[in-house]
Structure formats: structure tokens, C-alpha cells
Amino acid sequence: MSVTTGSDGIKDIRTPLTDTDVESLKSGDRVRITGVIYTARDAAHGRLMPLMEKGERLPIDITGSIIYYTGPSPARPGDVVGSIGPTTASRMDTFTPLLLKLGLKGTIGKGYRGQAVKDALKQYKGVYFGAIGGAGAVLSAFVKKLDVVAYEDLGTEAIRRLEVEGFPAIVVNDCHGGDLYQDGVKAYAREDA
């Protein structure tokens, strides 16, 4: 079991994730992620897609993994990384269902996911986490190690292997159809808006 609940009510997640782990996560849950996660955004997904379609081996093992949609800023000398917050997830929507089918368990980003992704989260048992967009300076402190593992020529868009410790996020879309964005708006919308 890689998901446990801390005394503060925050769920501690250790990668990789299983179906049971994913099932225990509900939209609105605050989490702390520890272990290895991978970064990939537009250009890297563009390169992974043809490999997946041809059934070829990917440069990273996505089984049970979490992909973080981000392109960090360069590290200052002595730092692990610069600023590293999430980018808009919906741009990766075309790629996500196939990745989930092949064993990916989680993605971290910001913003709405399309219906096809939400359906795939249910079908293949996956979870979409929100990290705070624009909080890249704060989030950098949770990254303990960083290695570029594929597509170095893409610069900030290269695939990086991150070792994170207690990386804070919130469950936006769970595998049961829960959606934090819909619930949040419902709770706070005032009718005369």
C-alpha cells in the first residue's frame, strides 16, 4: 500500500502506484508525493506518441508512474532545480488516455481535463493531481534530485526523472468520476453571477 493518511489528514503517496492506491484517492484529497516522478510536456509527449502507437519501448518506465507536466527554469549553481510549477494539463489530453492504457497511474498539472481523459481515468484507474500553478519557487524545494533521462535537445521540455519528497498536490479528478473543479465552483458560486 503506497497511500497512507498522515495525522494532519494529508495523504502520503509513495510511487509507484497500484490500482488499489488510485482507488483510495478522492477528488479534494490533499496529498504529499514521495519517490520518483517524471516530467514531460508538449514536445516530449509528441515524441512518445509515435512510439506508443507502434508499440515500441518508451525511454521511461511508465508502469505505476506519475508524469508531472512541467518545464523547469534552469538551476542556479548549487541548486537542484530552478522554479518548477505545473503547466496547463489539457494540452496533453490527446496523449493521456493511451499512456493510462499502457500503465501510467497519475499526472500532475493544472486546469481542466477533457472528457476523454476523465473517462480513461475511470477505465484504467488513474488519477489527476493539481499542483499550484505559479508556485514554482515554493515547489522547487520538494525536488531532491533531477536527471535528464530523454530528449535532452528539447531543453526545458526534455524528460526529467525527479526524486521528490512530500511534493504537495491535490486530487482534482479521481477514478470514481470526482471532479474538484466542478465541486469547488458549486460550493462557492453565487447565483447572481
Partner: protein, 280 residues
């Protein structure tokens, strides 16, 4: 005629790029504080507090507030009595961007061509707008414009019959569709009137006004306040997790328009509202 050497323009732009990304302007910090007193949502409050901490971390560690260090949009007010010496004005600005982004450990986010998508490596070129004005000063205003929020910017050409109600509906619709994608609390720059491109440029210019300051025209000021109140009743909240703080400000710039036209351009700006200016 007053001579201004290109090297001082480059130096100024370099400094503005770094400072904009490391140090949020006081108007933004005040906006966080104000919202913390009014926000009802615990999740929203927590986001606001983290963003405040983020600003502090960025400032003290001299790392960017957001990893998307933006597309540099540079507005220049060039006094007509200024003579730029030693090179070209645009080259001087781009050289400042190059130095600022490479020496400041800021991310290179610009690709050479919209088709081949190869990164230029130093965040150049900037988008540069020059207005020639009276006098012998050179004012440089930059904004490091984030891509995620820019992608939710919108334009529409309304009919005169659709009028003010149409304008209001369009602006509120922009806030809804931007939602959590654009990193709320948002700031909206709105250009109304002029032509297609004039409205768009004015929507960017509108972002430079100090947050919370009133519009000079009381009618427009009332409209801005009405729209801001409506935006904050949508319930989207900080990061879209639900709450009362969906927008920090809606700034409008108007321009005369053709009898057939009512153009409205909305630039969506995120809470990483990084703007700085300098006068030489």
C-alpha cells in the same frame, strides 16, 4: 535632441527582465493580502498564502516566481527628441532580453518558428511596441507574459446593437473559459474599440495600470468594478479549487471605433503578473 546609447537600453531591459521574474510588484502583494481577508474558501485561502510565500521565496532566492518566465512584451514610449545611438533600438531590447534570461537563470520559452518549434535558447525575440511621444525621455515597460494564461485570451467583434450588455457577457465568458487553466486569481486586460489589432494591443497595455487604482473615466471605472464583482461571484476561486477570489482586477482601455464595429479583446493574465518599467 538627446542622445541615448543602445547600451543603456540593453542594461535597462536586462535588469527589468530579471527583476520582473524575481520580484512581484507591490500592487500584487497587496492584492494577495486583501484577498486573504475576504476569501471564504479554506482551500482558496491556502493557495493565496502559498502564493505569497512563493513571492517571498522567489525574491530572496532570486529564482523566478513561476517557471514559465514568459514571453517578453515590451512597450516603449520614445520621446521624439531622443536620438538612439550606437545601434538599433530593437536589437538593443532583444540583447537585454538575451542577457537577462541567460544571466538570470530564467527559462527560454520561445521557439523560432510556430511550425518547427525549435527553441531560440535565450527567450528572444521580444514582442516590441513603440509609441512616439513628446519629450526627450525613453520609457520602457515590460511584462513577462505567461503562456498558459495567454492561451485563454480572446477576441470578438460585436455589433453596435449588441452594445455594452454584449461586452459584459463576453468578458465574463472569458473568465469562465479561462477557469483553472489560466492560474486564477486572474487579471484581465481589456481593449474595447479601435480596430482588430488596436483592441488587442490595448488589452495588453491595460495590464500596466496599477492594480486597484481607479480608471480615470468614472463610467469605465464603474464598469470595471461591476465586472470584477461578477467575476468573483463565479465561484472559481484561487487555482479553480472554489472560492471568492477569481480575479484581482479588470482593466479596460477604450479607443474610438468605426460606426460598424465594436471590437473587444481580452488578454488573460495569471497571478504571476510580472511587470516592470524604467525611464531613461
Amino acid at each position: 535632441m538627446r542622445d541615448i546609447h543602445v547600451s543603456s537600453i540593453t542594461d535597462a531591459v536586462k535588469k527589468l527582465c530579471m527583476e520582473a521574474n524575481w520580484n512581484l510588484e507591490p500592487d500584487m502583494l497587496r492584492a494577495f493580502d486583501r484577498a486573504l481577508t475576504t476569501e471564504r474558501s479554506p482551500a482558496g485561502k491556502q493557495v493565496l498564502q502559498i502564493l505569497k510565500d512563493n513571492a517571498e521565496k522567489a525574491r530572496t532566492r532570486r529564482i523566478p516566481y513561476c517557471q514559465d518566465t514568459g514571453f517578453v512584451v515590451c512597450f516603449v514610449e520614445l520621446g521624439q527628441d531622443v536620438h538612439v545611438t550606437g545601434g538599433a533600438l530593437y536589437d538593443a531590447i532583444n540583447e537585454g532580453v538575451r542577457q537577462g534570461y541567460t544571466e538570470g537563470y530564467l527559462r527560454a520559452s520561445i521557439v523560432k518558428s510556430p511550425f518547427d518549434r525549435v527553441n531560440t535558447g535565450d527567450n528572444t525575440p521580444a514582442v516590441i511596441h513603440v509609441d512616439v511621444v513628446e519629450g526627450a525621455a525613453l520609457k520602457i515597460m515590460i511584462i513577462a507574459k505567461g503562456g498558459g494564461c495567454e492561451n485563454r485570451s480572446k477576441y470578438t467583434m460585436l455589433t453596435p446593437a449588441e452594445g455594452l450588455p454584449g461586452v459584459k457577457e463576453f468578458i465574463i465568458e472569458c473568465v469562465k473559459t479561462a477557469g483553472p487553466d489560466a492560474c486564477p486569481p486572474l487579471i484581465l486586460g481589456v481593449g474595447i474599440g479601435g480596430t482588430f489589432e488596436k483592441a488587442a494591443v490595448n488589452s495588453k497595455k491595460a495590464l500596466f495600470r496599477e492594480l486597484g487604482s481607479p480608471h480615470a473615466d468614472p463610467t469605465v471605472d464603474a464598469l470595471e468594478k461591476e465586472l470584477l464583482d461578477r467575476a468573483n461571484r463565479l465561484g472559481i476561486g484561487p487555482q479553480g479549487y472554489g472560492g471568492d477570489t477569481t480575479s484581482f482586477g479588470i482593466h479596460i482601455v477604450t479607443f474610438p471605433c468605426h460606426i460598424t464595429s465594436l471590437p473587444v479583446a481580452v488578454t488573460i493574465e495569471c497571478h504571476a503578473h510580472r511587470h516592470k518599467e524604467a525611464t531613461l
